[in-house]
Symmetry: C2
Subunit: 163 residues, 2 copies
């Protein structure tokens, strides 16, 4: 589903720890191709609105054709993030997301990739074996347009004990 690429910094995602998420670092990876069948399959189950499940009705809708559920786009993004960005051992979950925006429709045939810019990485004072990584996540299509963006928080375990 996702072709594996390294981040620009070159480390393998699964071996990363908190120390590898440095403010200013940009990770870029993907891609994932979106099919009409997958758009309809996801939406029939989780978001059965005509613009996501009925190609003919969608043509008359506000986007002039079938588009992916925003939650489907988020799920595809997450697959790319798990395969390419998050560490396998050191990932301790996420408290949440801010400013999630669906900026442009995602249509059948689109090819998506993800760009993550680390905004801030702060070691926890109360639990110094881990830190909080804040990042700007952008999902881009084959025309270099941002289709979705969000600010993410991830808790990541540290490789080394605090100094």
């Amino acid at each position: 589903m996702a072709r594996f690429k390294h981040g620009r910094e070159g480390s393998l995602a699964e071996d990363r720890y908190f120390e590898d998420y440095v403010s200013g670092t940009v990770f870029e990876f993907g891609e994932i191709r979106v099919s009409e069948g997958e758009i309809i399959e996801f939406a029939r189950r989780f978001d059965p609105q005509d613009i996501h499940i009925d190609p003919e009705a969608a043509v008359r809708g506000p986007f002039g054709g079938l588009i992916a559920s925003g939650w489907h786009t988020a799920a595809m993004m997450m697959r790319l993030i798990v395969d390419n960005f998050l560490p396998k051992r050191a990932s301790l979950g996420s408290p949440g997301i801010d400013e999630l925006r669906w900026l442009r429709p995602v249509r059948p045939g689109d090819v998506l990739r993800v760009r993550i810019s680390v905004i801030e990485a702060t070691r926890s004072r109360s639990k110094p074996d881990r830190g909080l990584v804040r990042s700007l996540v952008q999902v881009l299509n084959q025309d270099e347009k941002v289709v979705m963006s969000m600010k993410a928080m991830n808790i990541i375990a540290c490789r080394k004990d605090p100094p």
Copy 2:
């Protein structure tokens, strides 16, 4: 997947328009039961981390057992929202979400429902045939605990022309 219930105000979701989303109104609906099989199926495709796909490894993980992907919880919430909250004809999409928080783990056997409190409903000045509805969305489990919350924006068509 979702049993249909009306909002407290009693109108059928599919017949609603912007005028039916009044500030202060609370809609409550569901439920949806979460199974281990569905947690694993969703996560194998979109969020293949051990805490979501491997029950044995998850026992040793930070949550002491298998938990649903946060994006799976969001997708299940969306299904309940489409079936019970959004109008069928008048829904014109969503620009995005703010302050999405995963507050408690969702585990196999949990039963989720949704509570939506309309915060603000503002008719568009530039496009007076529609309005923006801002709401607080909470996903609750069978113990009345909020497992996820977010602030949502929805663009909804008006029933009547502006006065």
